[in-house]
């Protein structure tokens, strides 16, 4: 939490959410929809930036700067170190997301001077953003165990882009009617994390509820996928020579 980049990003996100009030004022009758959409997008994008910027150096920076040496010579296991870094970053992201969410709720209150019952669904969208960030952190951690920060950032960003449009990629494969391409896009669809499932900003901004089935499914998906990546990180890091 002492990394200054965090404060810059959170401050910037809060300002952006506040500016959504201005965007809302020039939008007739849909101020609230605009505010919620911009607010949730800001939380998601800035959370993603924090997750990637901090996540790519989670292990690599410790090895590179050798701050890990005195630490690993204490009675701890390597997997404990990796797990600690993962959970620590997720806690940081949780606190930052709560700060940004507070900004969104403040802007919402400023706009309407009241909260509607359906506004509670905004919390579901924020929860999904947190699940998404949890998954992104796991991807970053995985790459950070064997790759440089720049490559880790590139890999994570590409996986996020492809994973966010996983359904479109699969649909494209089906449309081509090329069996090879169809198989490839299906493999990508199932292999890469599917981030598109976590985007419900459109629904909640219109006051629509999110089904409990989707909440359970997304939670299980994010936890299982992250667990696999974190365990792969444990394995890679436990075999690695720290030169």
């Amino acid at each position: 939490m002492r990394d200054r980049v965090l404060y810059n990003l959170v401050a910037f996100a809060v300002i952006l959410i506040a500016s959504a009030v201005l965007f809302g004022q020039i939008s007739i009758d849909i101020e609230k929809v605009i505010l919620i959409n911009i607010g949730l997008s800001s939380i998601s994008v800035f959370g993603l930036l924090i997750a990637i910027f901090l996540g790519i150096g989670l292990v690599y920076k410790e090895v590179d700067k050798r701050s890990l040496y005195p630490l690993l010579s204490k009675p701890i296991r390597r997997w404990q170190f990796v797990l600690g870094k993962f959970l620590g970053l997720n806690l940081t992201l949780l606190v930052n997301t709560l700060f940004m969410s507070a900004g969104l709720w403040a802007a919402l209150y400023y706009l309407r001077r009241d909260f509607a019952p359906e506004d509670v669904h905004i919390w579901t969208a924020i929860y999904f953003i947190l699940l998404e960030l949890f998954l992104v952190t796991a991807v970053c951690l995985f790459f950070s165990c064997f790759s440089t920060p720049v490559l880790s950032a590139v890999f994570t960003f590409l996986i996020y882009i492809v994973g966010s449009s996983a359904s479109d990629v699969r649909a494209f494969g089906v449309l081509t009617r090329n069996p090879a391409l169809e198989t490839l896009t299906t493999v990508i669809y199932y292999l890469l994390p599917n981030f598109s499932n976590f985007s419900v900003a459109g629904e909640v901004s219109h006051g629509l509820p999110v089904g409990s089935y989707l909440i359970e499914l997304n939670t299980a998906y994010a936890l299982c996928y992250s667990a696999l990546l974190v365990m792969a990180s444990f394995w890679i890091f436990s075999k690695r020579d720290l030169k």
Partner: protein, 353 residues
């Protein structure tokens, strides 16, 4: 039970981009460090000292061989309960203060908050950092970082302390403080295993030393045995007439050095009566006659020289070896003596292959 037991420890690194080939950083290292001794690990840069220490701390994995610390295999967290480690050129989270860093490290051990506070006070005092305890580490000098590194290594009062180049980056006062700390640890009955290429530190502190050369252990023995060896006497003469010099040179074991109206010569014990006789008959003032002691530096340089292939310049191939030779104090150097042969009497000199 020995403090540290190393048996056939070998480490290969793979170098090259396309065609990876093994490069042996440590070759079949076997040695035992007894409890309560200060053990120096010597060798020039790249000799394999840090590799050996990293293997002992589980930071890298051996290609072959085994090692144990207090009977526990290296790499297991249990082995580290009684081990403190200072890495070479340590780096710590620089946004933390010394107090915060030590408290963080202390939490890895079963200590109560009161014990943690107590240990912090003690090691900060030992490291001379009490007044800087609330200053973020990013504002520390290199010497201060080295001292906080030593402090974290002894924080949990370990039985074995592994120090990788503990004097690196320290000013004379800092070096004296670390030397004092090592002696204090020895007095407390701790085992200290430290690597260095500053031979005067090893000479001042160690009970035994091991010398590594190109990843191989080339010598191991007790400092006391080595330093007790005399290799002749040094005489300083004044008012020495020039016509006497050729006769004195016949007595001397090395070329006579003239400086500031004085002459310095190294002489074997059996030639001393003859020297005294010359002095008396030629009105030469004998200012001093002192035994020459065989220094660790002499041993080290000669040992490495004998290990170099004949085709190469003896021990001068590396920059480090050259710097040792330059620093060697000429009055104490028994030039021309077969040092390695002499040392083999008291030291276990290992085969070169």
């Amino acid at each position: 039970m020995a403090a540290i037991e190393i048996s056939g420890l070998t480490k290969d690194y793979y170098v090259g981009f396309w065609r990876k080939r093994p490069w042996r950083a440590l070759d079949n290292l076997s040695l035992t460090v007894e409890r309560g001794e200060v053990f120096g690990f010597l060798g020039h840069n790249g000799a394999g000292k840090t590799t050996a220490l990293k293997l002992l701390t589980g930071l890298i994995f051996p290609t072959a061989g085994t090692a144990s610390i207090l009977g526990l295999p290296i790499g297991s967290p249990e082995a580290f309960r009684n081990v403190g480690y200072l890495p070479e050129n340590p780096y710590f989270y620089d946004y933390l203060t010394a107090d915060e860093l030590l408290d963080y490290f202390a939490r890895f051990f079963p200590l109560t908050p009161e014990q943690r506070r107590e240990r912090r006070e003690i090691v900060l005092e030992q490291a001379g950092l009490t007044e800087f305890r609330h200053v973020p580490l990013r504002k520390y000098s290199k010497g201060m970082l080295q001292r906080i590194g030593v402090a974290q290594a002894v924080l949990h009062n370990p039985e074995i302390v592994l120090l990788d180049e503990p004097m690196s980056g320290l000013d004379p006062v800092g070096r004296r403080d670390v030397r004092h700390l090592i002696l204090q640890l020895k007095a407390e009955g701790k085992t200290v295993f430290f690597s260095t290429h500053i031979l005067s530190d090893a000479e001042a502190l160690c009970d035994r030393v091991a010398i590594l050369h190109r990843g191989k252990l080339v010598g191991v023995g007790q400092i006391a045995d080595l330093l007790q060896r005399q290799s002749g006497f040094e005489a300083i003469l004044e008012s020495c007439p020039p016509d006497l010099l050729p006769r004195l040179q016949q007595l001397a074991a090395a070329p006579i050095v003239a400086s500031g109206g004085q002459h310095r010569l190294e002489i074997a014990e059996q030639n001393i009566p003859q020297l005294l006789s010359y002095c008396a008959s030629n009105s030469v003032r004998l200012l001093s006659l002192n035994p020459l002691r065989f220094s660790l530096e002499d041993y080290f340089v000669e040992l490495l020289r004998t290990r170099e292939p004949a085709s190469e310049s003896p021990a001068a191939g590396s920059k480090t070896a050259r710097s040792y030779r330059r620093r060697s104090p000429s009055p104490a150097t028994p030039s021309g003596k077969p040092c390695a042969t002499a040392c083999s009497i008291t030291w276990s000199l290992l085969p070169s292959s």
